[in-house]
Amino acid sequence: MDTFCVMFRKAPYGTIQAAEGLRHLIAAAGTMVATAVLLDDGVYLARRGQEPGASGWVSLSGALERALVDCRADPSCHLQVYVHEGSLRDRRLDPTTLVPGVELVDDDRVATVIAEARRLLIF
């Protein structure tokens, strides 16, 4: 089965990239094996408790969390989300503040996930 990887490098809300990446990731998970790699400012996407309020944005961490929960309940859905622990460390982010279901990975594992993906979209 094709493995499709979405790489998140930008923080949510400041630009459209994280939202667009999430949209593509969720759609992909229903049709092929989908993986996400969050690194650099992209790790902020997985930070739990985002409340954009009346800004017009949906909570992107909430959408990510729902996608992981929904996917676990659907045998035909294949979604794995990896968070680069070095990027977390650089930003002094506590891993316990991330949405449940993501996996912390080191540099080598990030490289392996990207190398194993047949296709990669970068946001």
């Binding site: 094709d2 990239q17 667009e20 759609a27 049709t31 296709r119 946001f123």
Partner: protein
Amino acid sequence: MSVTQKTLTIFLAAAPYAGEHASTAMRLARAALDAGHRVNVFASADGVYGFAVGGRAKGLPDAVAGFSDLIARGARVELCGSCLVTRGLHRESVLPGAEPSSLEKLFRLIRESDVLLTLGN
């Protein structure tokens, strides 16, 4: 068909005149067609603005002219449908031959491609 013919898909997410991404996409697509390869361009987010008719660029690469030429040469161009709707662009607002599309169609293009390039994110 040449046995070495490959399919290149370019995922373009940048507006045409905010940087060099659209210009790079056009140049890469042109080079691939010149070499006998198949080319798909899928424009998403602000990338769809590069296919909006009516613009006239002077003194910088003209996206509308460039993409029109690529379509005439056989490049397949698809535009994210919801991105068009978000920006108030309708079918008649975009270049003939540039087709409103969907994520489902994007993933099919990706699966059918030998090479996928992301530009603009």
